[in-house]
Amino acid sequence: MISLENRVVLELNVNNHPGVMSHVCGLFARRAFNVEAILVLPLGGGETSRIQLLVNADQRLDQMVKQAEKLRDVHEVQVKEAAGSSFERMVQEYSAA
């Protein structure tokens, strides 16, 4: 069972179009910062989406947040606790299977 310890959830509010995931995932890939888990859902009328990323809370996190905030398709970035997040429930489901 994967651990949520020392991990946090980055919550991004983004524009919803086919290139957005590429921008977000590319940012993490080219800075060699692994994304452990990912969850995306469109919001409201589908103009925007919310992306949740489960990532390690290491010393590069602050830089990753700043870099994500620079993406033009990203409106807001929040750092949230992994405990109590949707990922916690997913971890339980996956490990039961």
């Binding site: 290139g19 590429s22 921008h23 080219r30 602050d62 830089q63 700043k66 905030e69 993406l71 033009r72």
Partner: protein, 559 residues
């Protein structure tokens, strides 16, 4: 209600952005755009010979004016050929807008002829990019592309437009306002006041000026701040011109190829005021040993630069000019006699090493002589390599946007097309391009463009038949095993230039090289001057990659 095609709308929007020159190459998927461009009376098109050349021409325009410039390419290879120059613009924060044709939307994703996912490929090298899905989208995408390119920390934007979108007709009420830069965020006045106090308290401060000073138009403010508080100042490669080369407070460029006194002064400083810099490794050397005793004030408009490498700074997210103006108003008039004396001692004991400058045939002499003959109004571009570092060390840069060089990416092939761009944007000035044979060969086809437009560009070629900076590293760090770094055949560059229709001279055959150099630099139109230099002459001082800036390998003494 006006109705036009996507291509016509694009050109109309570019005209409204006051774009007067576009560099590019047409192809299958951008022909509708070219058809509309051909009917514009306000925009001149410059046909490059390679798309990378077109993008560097846009860079030359943008770097020399500070305003976004435009290049165009067709889909597939046309678009991929742009990428190196776009990456170069990203690393040096240059505002360019690249417009690519794409296969019709219905064919996207089918591996159609000349289809390439340039949207995906350009994500890491652009500030932002677009794949346009309807002609109507252009109404907001184009102004936004210009706004993004020029706002905050500038950068390249790519707009990919499928061919059918270019032909689609669009009806609209009115054209949108042109995209203009966003106003910068209000600075944190408390932080700026704290910075002013730190400057007042410091005994051995140094002002560290980077490309952001040029970007924000703050070079005069920076110089006045330095003068008021007596702040010795260092510049990054991108910051050259922030303070005139000859200014008594200027310590020139810092870092890997700095004068030894510059790096030693940094070692001793107790306060580093970093403005519009990003602590690049070529400037700082081993970061842990950079300015070990200094408090650091870091001013930058890009929040992600603060704390990226140096984490213990007083970080101020602010337009550099606004910040320096505030500091100028709030620091004391100060003389700092002791620190000035110490700097003078360092300068005397460890002077800049620019050997053999008296001879126009020496690597440093050719820079100094050429600078003297073209005068202070000239714009300078360089390629990448030993000649670039020598120009950075020795050229008497007098102002911002005068010295255009590929700093972050270090792209060989930059110099000639960038010079063309600068000449297109400044027909009243002469442009001098320092290059080496390795670099020149990487975009030599643009000699044809320079000749076609009879641009006032002087190419000063230091020809050592080698990749000089590679050989230098092989000699110093690979036990002198020189491999794959010299050219087995000699090229006749003066004949090549003539073949392109460009005047040329080889100073190797000159009885009076200084006089011949002066004559050809004073002539009108493009010219190439070849000066043979010895590949065994290294650029010194040099900090080994990864070493501390105080670990400098020194070269020959001045004579």
């Amino acid at each position: 209600m006006p109705s036009m095609t996507g291509a016509e709308l694009l050109i109309r929007l570019l005209e409204r952005q006051e774009i007067t020159t576009v560099a590019g190459i047409p192809g299958g998927t951008n022909l509708p755009i070219y058809d509309a461009l051909g009917r514009s009376s306000r925009i001149r098109h410059v046909l490059a010979r390679h798309e990378q050349g077109a993008a560097f021409m846009a860079q030359g325009m943008a770097r020399s004016t500070g305003k976004p410039a435009v290049c165009m390419a067709t889909s597939g290879p046309g678009a991929t050929n742009l990428l190196t120059a776009i990456a170069d613009a990203k690393l040096d924060s240059v505002p360019i807008v690249c417009i690519t044709g794409q296969v019709p939307l219905g064919l996207v994703g089918t591996d159609a002829f000349q289809e390439m996912d340039i949207y995906g490929m350009s994500i890491p090298v652009t500030k932002h990019n677009y794949l346009v899905r309807s002609a109507r989208e252009l109404l907001h995408v184009i102004p936004e592309a210009f706004r993004i390119a020029a706002s905050g920390r500038p950068g390249p934007v790519l707009v990919d437009i499928p061919k059918d979108i270019q032909c689609q007709s669009v009806t609209f009420d009115m054209l949108p306002a042109p995209g203009t830069p966003e106003t910068s965020p209000d600075p944190d006045i408390d932080q700026l006041n704290r910075a002013a106090e730190m400057i007042s308290r410091s005994r051995k401060p140094i002002l560290y000026l980077g490309g952001g000073v040029t970007q924000s138009g703050a070079s005069e403010t920076a110089t006045r701040l330095a003068e008021k508080n007596t702040l010795p100042s260092v510049m990054t490669l991108m910051g050259l011109g922030a303070m005139p080369h000859s200014h008594p407070l200027s310590l020139g460029m810092l870092g890997m190829h700095a004068a030894k006194h510059t790096n030693l002064a940094l070692q001793e400083c107790d306060l580093l005021i970093a403005a519009g810099v990003r602590f690049d490794d070529r400037a700082t050397g081993r970061l842990e040993e950079f300015c070990p005793d200094a408090d650091i004030i870091h001013i930058d408009i890009d929040p992600s630069e603060l704390g990226k490498l140096k984490t213990d700074c007083v970080g101020i997210v602010c337009d550099v000019k606004t910040a320096l103006e505030h500091l100028l108003a709030n620091v004391q008039d100060k003389q700092r006699g002791e620190w000035v004396d110490r700097i003078a001692t360092l300068k005397r004991d460890f002077p800049a090493l620019l050997p053999k400058t008296a001879s126009p045939l020496s690597p440093y002499g050719l820079v100094r002589h050429a600078a003297e003959y073209v005068g202070p109004d000239a714009i300078v571009t360089t390629d990448v390599g030993q000649h670039q570092m020598r120009a950075a060390q020795a050229y008497p840069v007098t102002r911002a946007r005068q010295f255009l060089t590929s700093g972050g990416l270090g792209t060989m092939g930059f110099g000639l097309p960038a010079a063309i761009g600068a000449a297109l944007a400044h027909p009243d000035r002469s442009v001098i391009c320092f290059t080496g044979d390795g670099s020149l060969l990487m975009n030599i086809q643009e000699l044809a463009t320079a000749a076609e437009h009879n641009l006032n560009i002087k190419i000063v070629l230091a020809d050592n038949r080698a990749l000089g900076l590679v050989q230098q590293q092989q000699e110093l760090f690979y036990e002198n095993r020189k491999f794959a770094s010299s050219y087995g055949n000699a090229l006749d560059f003066t004949t090549i230039a003539k073949g392109f229709g460009i005047a040329s001279a080889d100073l190797a055959n000159s009885e009076d090289p200084a006089s011949d150099l002066r004559d050809i630099l004073g002539s009108n139109g493009p010219a190439l001057i070849r000066i043979p230099v010895n590949a065994a002459e290294n650029v010194y001082p040099m900090v080994p990659p990864g070493a501390a800036n105080t670990t400098m390998i020194e070269g020959a003494a001045n004579d």
